[in-house]
């Protein structure tokens, strides 16, 4: 399969990348290329220019004056997994990075690229030379193949590093016309036609993870059929911060991935945990709460009924695992 033709420009800084993206409106930014290039081979994207970030080395993780761990989005997922500093500060992220795709893709794909990946759908992620020829909403058309009478796109956001980072309270810096900083969870619009709250001339330039308070337990579960290679059926990232007594939960953050156009914080379920003493029974109740709050999109051939039960089971497991792993900091 060959790529369509384009002009290749190499950026040597984020600022230069922004400048090039603005100079060439029909340009695409490329970090690892593992999300963009397959889409281009399917002719879902045919930018005239690719602004490649491959010549930019990634900065090592560092701690900011405000006490956050600052990560360069150009770190490959393998580098994230291998970083002792990240493992110390945010082991949930180390673990999640290792669950993405395959070794080769982790060696190439970047953390920023994973966070900014396109949403996915069976009817979208293929070449349309003789199947589903007429464009759907995501391809700029006016129909949805997945829900034939649907009025919107139902593609889902499936990146593995997003739910853990959201549950860790991560923020991101974005360079465009100046620099802005937002919560990572606010980067995701939930609108499938424009999943990211970023303008076309903007570049994700930093990821900031606050330090864990006192006692914390965290767990990330990615459900797949095969245990590797594939995107998630669904994923659950649970972070439980405890009171000094080590048994009462002070803050809980629970984020679910792959069942919606954006990673979903399950706020009602989180409040069901806040201020409570943790127990297996509570976790079961909370899992039921999550299932009541979220209607998973039946993506990629999985039925809603199955995703619901899977969500219930995986939420329970994630909470139990987070509970067992509570560590004093």
């Amino acid at each position: 399969m060959h790529l369509p033709r384009f002009r290749h420009l190499s950026a040597t800084s984020f600022e230069e990348a922004v400048s090039l993206l603005n100079e060439y409106p029909d340009a695409a930014l490329m970090a690892g290329g593992t999300d963009l290039l397959p889409r281009m081979k399917y002719r879902l994207d045919s930018p005239e220019v690719i602004v490649s970030l491959k010549a930019l080395p990634a900065d090592s993780p560092s701690v900011t004056p405000e006490g956050n761990l600052a990560l360069d989005p150009l770190m490959t997922l393998t580098a994230v997994n291998r970083s002792d500093m990240i493992r110390e500060w945010a082991p949930l992220l180390s673990e999640a990075a290792q669950r993405v795709a395959t070794q080769e893709i982790r060696n190439m794909g970047t953390l920023g690229g994973n966070l900014c990946q396109q949403t996915r759908c069976l009817y979208y992620n293929q070449r349309h030379s003789f199947q589903f020829v007429e464009p759907c909403y995501k391809r700029g058309g006016e129909i949805c193949y997945f829900i034939p009478k649907g009025k919107k796109c139902w593609a889902v956001f499936m990146a593995d590093t997003a739910p853990p980072l959201i549950s860790l309270g991560a923020q991101v810096k974005i360079i465009g016309q100046g620099i802005r900083q937002i919560l990572l969870e606010d980067l995701y619009t939930g609108e499938t036609e424009k999943p990211l709250a970023m303008a076309s001339g903007e570049v994700l330039s930093q990821i900031l993870i606050p330090k864990a308070p006192g006692n914390r337990g965290a767990a990330f579960f990615k459900s797949t059929l095969r245990g590797g290679l594939e995107f998630a059926t669904l994923s659950v990232a649970a972070v439980l911060d405890m009171e000094d007594d080590g048994e009462t939960c002070s803050t809980a953050r629970l984020t679910i991935g792959a069942v919606s156009a954006a990673p979903l914080r399950v706020r009602k379920a989180e409040s069901a945990l806040t201020g409570k003493r943790l127990s297996k029974e509570l976790f079961s109740q909370v899992a039921d709460e999550v299932v009541a709050e979220i209607r998973p999109v039946p993506h990629h051939g999985h039925s809603r009924a199955y995703l619901t039960e899977c969500l219930r089971a995986e939420t329970r497991h994630a909470l139990c695992s987070a509970g067992e792993g509570i560590k004093k900091n």
Binding site: H2, Y42, L122, Q126, F130, Q131, V133, L229
Partner: protein, 776 residues
């Protein structure tokens, strides 16, 4: 029996070094000067009339060298089956209608893939969409849109019947009447595909002198030559299909594909070599998937477990053309009747046209679907009768020397040994039932199940026979000429082992020329499970002829009896007097001098069913089918997670009567690979289609097993045959037989673990959760 030096040994494969170094050249790797790239324009409609094709704009594009449609062909049809009852029904390029999404309509040859892509956008095809039907049972209804007229010899109101198989013996009604327990069940097998790693690809080079050279990823060059020659109107002598390494096939690369024809015709038109590489997405969506079968089976048994009556109705969703659909409904009959003795038997199978891409054999060719059904039902019968799974199978399993209802004999049949040994090895009888008895509070529950299957090794299908030539080189080394196609199963290696054994020449010193229709003799091909038996016996014969000539010469020269001569290390000497001997080099030289220039060449040929003119009737099953039947029992031990519905295959054991293994290392590899494929069939793989379109035409969403899903696979050899130098042998088959029983075993193991009986594949987590009542 003589000690064997090469046959039965774990010889490393001859093409291994080429493969681990990247030197092996597959069709995709072939480059020729001036080579053009070809591409195919496909139908976006599942069923439509073609009103007009306008290629004029494409023809004007710089870089385009040829554009072809059906108008440019001779109008000669081809088909997987080409018999008087089932004449060929496919055109290489669509004529007046398209009948599946992806059907080939136009082909382009251009200087590079970019021009091909652009040219295809410039081709205008006007279609008039027609009503389409995708479900087989829907397509059979009288009101269904007609894809093709029902076969004239099939009576009844059904529409879209490509073929029917009907067979039986005994008195089915009496059988049921005399049974103590009768049950009827319906099983459905889903759509899967081969997933070979090397894409479909063809290079065609038509020379000015009229010679057409073809390299194509296939399962045997002779059938490709025949079909290419006929559709192109060329004599066989001008069509040469040559060897390229093949990156897997599993049944998906057998008969003629449009891109092969198009590459050839485009080369003929342009006078340049043309290469067509099919994209992975095209392979997943427009090429052949496996055959999904609906199996309805009604069985009657006596209370001691003896099967008295069995009645089958099979429906195959064949896709838009007849394809191999009429073969699978015949084979399903075979796989239904082989392992167990059933006195009263009735079988009816329909192959139904639908507006889906054409379906084709996939490893096992009907056996997985059949054995899943029969073995599942057998366990249900056993449970009802209070008999354990081993006992009921022993009661009905075929014995050595048993005559089959179709007139064949099973000869040495190790099935009973397979069942007993596997029980002993796995303690099945002790473990069975423990999972359910343990109580329902455990999250993880384990179970064990057994299945039994049988397969045939070689039958009569074009080109029907294999021939082999073995030549001595004058330095005493040996050349083997065989039309056999190594698709990864190790064909060239095992045939070399046979030559090595007959002539006592090391395997490394046998030079193999293979799979070239011009220079190697005909071979049955690697889709009929006959490499070891048919091509192997042909090889043995050819080497045997060489052996005899060498011995005759030596006997004369050494003035010794032939029986007193020993062959070893390319030398023949008199037993007890090793100094009295002659090297092969000297013997060849002597032959040339004394036998009028005879350089010592041996020829061998073999065919199954030597006394039968034809394959049995696909429609009535009448006729002798094979003299070579393999048997096996497989067990599966599973662990079910009752919260998520996920199942892990903990242990798979295969007790197999494969005759004898020519190369145990290769046999193990075949077993492992088939257990993996069965695991995919059971849990992971599913082609999802909607209105004739494939939703998951890639490896992300068509979930073949990865190394994470590696199944612990053990095997027990039940050796029922032997190899003796100079003697014909019966070694059964190992390439397709072990994807089937295990499927039934897994279904039975899941039931054993959690009491959930599944009637359709895949055994998805959702189905198990539903069975457990966790999803309503």
């Amino acid at each position: 029996m003589d000690k064997l030096d090469y046959v039965g040994k774990r010889v490393l494969r001859k093409d291994g070094p080429d493969k681990v170094t990247g030197r092996a050249m597959y069709t995709v790797d072939m480059e020729f000067r001036g080579m053009l790239t070809g591409g195919i324009l496909r139908s976006p409609h599942p069923h439509a009339r073609i009103l007009n094709i306008d290629t004029s704009r494409a023809l004007k594009l710089p870089g385009v060298r040829a554009v072809i449609t059906a108008q440019d062909t001779l109008g000669v049809k081809h088909g997987f089956v080409e018999t008087p009852r089932y004449p060929p029904d496919q055109h290489p390029l669509a004529t007046d209608k398209v009948r599946f999404v992806g059907e080939e309509v136009v082909a382009v040859a251009a200087t590079d893939p970019y021009v091909v892509e652009e040219a295809m956008d410039l081709i205008d095809v006007d279609y008039e969409p027609l009503p389409a039907v995708f479900d087989a049972e829907e397509a059979m209804k009288p009101e269904a849109p007609e894809i093709h007229p029902t076969h004239p010899k099939v009576e009844g109101p059904f529409h879209n019947i490509g073929g029917k198989t009907a067979s039986g013996w005994g008195d089915i009604e009496a059988g049921f009447a005399n049974s103590d327990y009768v049950r009827q069940d319906r099983f459905e097998s889903h759509l899967r595909t081969h997933g070979y790693l090397e894409p479909q690809a063809t290079v065609a080079s038509f020379e000015p002198d009229g010679k057409l050279n073809i390299w194509t990823s296939s399962q045997g060059p002779f059938i490709k030559r025949a079909k290419l020659a006929r559709t192109l109107g060329l004599p066989f002598s001008t069509v040469r299909v040559q060897k390229a390494y093949v990156g897997g096939a599993f049944g998906g690369k057998i008969d003629l594909f449009s891109h092969e024809f198009c590459a050839a015709l485009l080369s003929m038109k342009t006078g340049r070599p043309v290469k067509i590489i099919v994209s992975r997405e095209e392979i997943f969506s427009a090429y052949r998937h496996g055959q999904p079968l609906i199996v309805e089976v009604k069985t009657g048994a006596k209370k001691d477990g003896t099967l008295l009556a069995q009645q089958f109705k099979i429906i195959n969703n064949a896709g838009a053309y007849r394809g191999s659909g009429v073969v699978v409904i015949f084979l399903a009959w075979g796989f239904a009747m082989l392992p167990y003795r059933v006195a009263n038997f009735e079988y009816e199978g329909y192959s139904v046209f639908t507006n889906n891409p054409i379906r084709t054999p996939q490893r096992g060719h009907g056996a997985p679907q059949l054995r899943f059904a029969v073995e599942s039902q057998l366990d249900m019968i056993a449970e009802e009768l209070g008999i354990d799974p081993i006992e009921i199978r022993m009661k009905n399993a075929r014995r050595s020397g048993e005559q089959l209802p179709n007139g064949d004999n099973v000869h040495n049949c190790g099935l009973r040994d397979c069942i007993q040994l596997i029980d002993k090895h796995t303690s099945l009888r002790e473990k069975y039932g423990q999972g359910r008895a343990a109580g329902s509070s455990d999250r993880m529950r384990r179970g064990i199940g057994i299945g039994v299957s049988s397969y045939f090794g070689g039958s009569l299908i074009y080109p029907n026979s294999s021939s082999v030539v073995v030549k001595m080189n004058d330095d005493g080394s040996v050349a083997l000429l065989t039309g056999a196609m190594d698709i990864g199963q190790g064909a060239e290696t095992i045939l070399s082992q046979i030559v090595a054994e007959e002539l006592k020449v090391p395997v490394d010193e046998i030079q193999v020329t293979a799979a070239d229709t011009e220079t190697t003799p005909v071979d049955i091909g690697s889709w009929i499970s006959g490499n070891a038996y048919v091509s192997g016996n042909a090889t043995r014969m050819a080497a045997g002829e060489v052996r005899k000539k060498l011995i005759d010469l030596a006997s004369e020269a050494l003035e010794a009896n032939a029986d007193d001569l020993i062959l070893k290390d390319k030398r023949i000497y008199v037993a007890g007097s090793p100094n009295r001997g002659l090297t092969y080099q000297k013997l060849v030289s002597a032959s040339i001098q004394e036998r009028k220039g005879d350089p010592i060449i041996g020829e061998g040929h073999w065919r199954t069913m030597r006394d039968e003119p034809f394959h049995p009737s696909l429609a009535s099953t009448k006729g002798r089918w094979s003299e070579n039947y393999a048997f096996d029992a497989q067990t599966a031990e599973v662990e079910v997670d009752t919260e998520t519905g996920e199942v892990r295959l903990l242990r798979a054991v295969t007790a197999h009567d494969c005759g004898f293994p020519i190369n145990p290392l290769l046999v193990e590899g075949q077993i492992d690979g088939q257990v993996s494929m069965a695991l995919g069939h059971a849990f992971l793989e599913e082609i999802m289609m909607e209105e004739g379109r494939t939703l998951n035409p890639n490896w992300l969403d068509y979930r073949m097993p990865t190394i994470h899903n590696m199944a612990p696979s053990e095997h027990i050899d039940v050796i029922t045959e032997k190899y003796e130098v100079g003697q014909p042998y019966r070694t059964k088959e190992v390439g397709e037989g072990y994807v089937s029983a295990i499927l039934g075993a897994i279904a039975n193991a899941i039931y054993d673990a959690v009491g959930v009986r599944l009637f359709s594949t895949p055994f998805s987590a959702e189905k198990i959760l539903r069975g457990l009542g966790k999803i309503k």
